[in-house]
Symmetry: D2
């Protein structure tokens, strides 16, 4: 790490998603122009972040640990008895979960897998929360609530490879009747046929209705 | 029209898809730098275009009228007896048809509708080849070959509005048992959940499998 | 060349500046959708282009050979006695000349060099109109009109290399007193210091006033 | 301010230059995925920033207040006796100063003005460090070192308007012989004549050499 504070902060900001060295430096100038009071509030929020926001021990999403609905370290979604516990949707990351939740089209429960696996990854299983997923499914099945696991991952080679790994991992349960589905494929909003790839056309054709 | 030839050609090129005034002018400079022989070959091909390429009177796509397989002004696809005539896919334009054909995933026949209809269009039916579509379907049904019409349009408000118009237009036949389907919707290649709209998530969820 | 007319026109349009294969094909579809009358007018203008537009034998720009001001194959600019013949500006191509002419800031004469020379070019002199430039300068000096040659080329390695070649070529005259200048360098419209390279800052500093 | 820490941090990141709401939220997820140790180091650097980096009371740039060369709150550049104190360059902001310094083409001193003034600004003088600039120039002139003030601002309407304000402000001194210059204008690196505006061509022509 550089021993100069400005350079050190530039290094930290460069690790932020989508930020290059030039913009990282502009961030530091921005902070220098902010008053000391702004920095103090920023620091206070940053320090409180890991206390205020914890990871749900059931679905592994990050959530604001408001003490009111807190019950045994599970998040507001997992604690919400009005949600449909017969469905468990596996997503890659918090941002995906958030987009699906905000779409208002899914009322079941979630599980954040923590990543996607490239095809050449040597030790794929260590990169995902597979033991935690197994534990969640075991618990849910023992409660007799779970009927279907829905895999909701990005449509790319890593996503497809991860779907294969999940299918293998969940095979002991699917053999016993647990339903395992994958989000449907076809034309998405804004798609123009002229610019569509063969896979998308094939899926759209198979899923026509 | 301007009386200067350069300006007139700039005007013509500006009507080409995606071309602004600056690039239109560069096209003219490009032609000036080409030798007279190049221009002559260009002109010869342009003059021959409307003779060599005609519109199929069955599917309305443009095709190279090679005399060998020519039979009553129908294109190579419509004349190809190995294609599945039980399926008729309605597309907006030639480029869409070409993309679907090249995907290698569809072996049925096509019909080029000729456009999409904006929601506020006053006289929507005049903009589409609806009488021609009716004629084609009538003929196909009389030949007892047609089983299903597949609507393959872009996923946007114009596409959706055009689907509604097609459903009304084809209602007399669908009531009598003709199957009418629309390309399936869901996640397309490259989709990331984080950036997906609610409609796409909803469709992907409904079409999960 | 492909023997199919559509593919042949796609090939021709792909050679247009900035056009890829996909857009080239859309151009052909565009032409197919245009009526025969449009194509006929397009063809007529293309055929007339090389007759109507000729290259000035003095400055080598392309110009509309309107018979009214035509005098010995020189263009309207070169024939315009109100322009300042003491100045000769060397530009790379017609589009540069046009931009400078339309800026309204230069009233002298022009010479279109026909290209820029990459540094590793083996036979650089053959790619430029150097004999023609020599002839023009000789003629102008014998008429005792020419005082200054202004080099107006793009600011990049090819431009700089071409400037060096021009300086060597014109040395016999500059030694005898012909003034040879290069367009000034510094900050151009829209420049932000934060994103400027060292050369631009150096030039702007040297040319401060 | 939202009472939720995540939303509060999103708000803070949205004020960072060039950051929209979506990327701001990704920043927070990034921080959540970083361990507590990373956050602690980030917080430590942020807290130390305003102590470690102070504003030079002479040129108003931010600098790392390393105690070694510290002398009366002036920065390393202002304290550097090898720099040419006969020149004072006025820049808008730290990032501009940094770009000019790193170009290695200027060895004089700097003054950070703190902004540019839009043409319709009602109270333009309050937005710039004009009293501080006056004080610096007075001091420098009394030390008999200052010969020339160089204005180095972006080439846009705000920059040009600010140059006018500076010329009025410094008039008492320029009348007495202080030289006031503006960075030269013309073609900058990468400029192509074809795409140049009239102002740039005019400046390049006037500054030809």
């Amino acid at each position: 790490m550089p021993d100069n504070i400005v350079d050190r902060l530039v290094e930290i900001f460069r690790r932020f998603p989508g930020i290059g060295p030039r913009q990282a430096r502009r961030f530091v100038y921005h902070l220098l122009h902010e008053g000391r009071g702004s920095i103090d509030r920023f620091v206070a929020d940053l320090r409180a972040l890991h206390t205020a926001v914890t990871q749900c021990e059931q679905c592994f999403r990050f959530y604001s640990a408001n003490t009111n609905y807190r019950s045994g370290h599970t998040c507001d979604l997992c604690s919400d008895s009005s949600r449909d516990n017969s469905l468990l949707m596996i997503v890659e990351k918090d941002a995906d979960l958030e987009a699906i939740r905000q779409s208002g089209t899914y009322q079941g429960s979630f599980f954040v897998l923590g990543g996607l696996i490239p095809i050449l990854e040597k030790d794929p299983r260590s990169k995902l929360r597979l033991p935690e997923l197994n534990a969640t499914i075991t618990k849910r099945l023992s409660e007799k609530s779970l009927v279907e696991v829905i895999v909701a991952l990005a449509v790319n080679p890593e996503g497809d490879h991860t779907i294969e790994i999940l299918k293998q991992t969940l095979e002991p349960w699917t053999k016993k009747g647990l339903r395992l589905t994958v989000l449907g494929r076809g034309l998405s909003t804004g798609t123009e046929l002229e610019y569509s790839d063969a896979d998308t056309i094939k899926n759209a054709l198979e899923n026509r209705s």
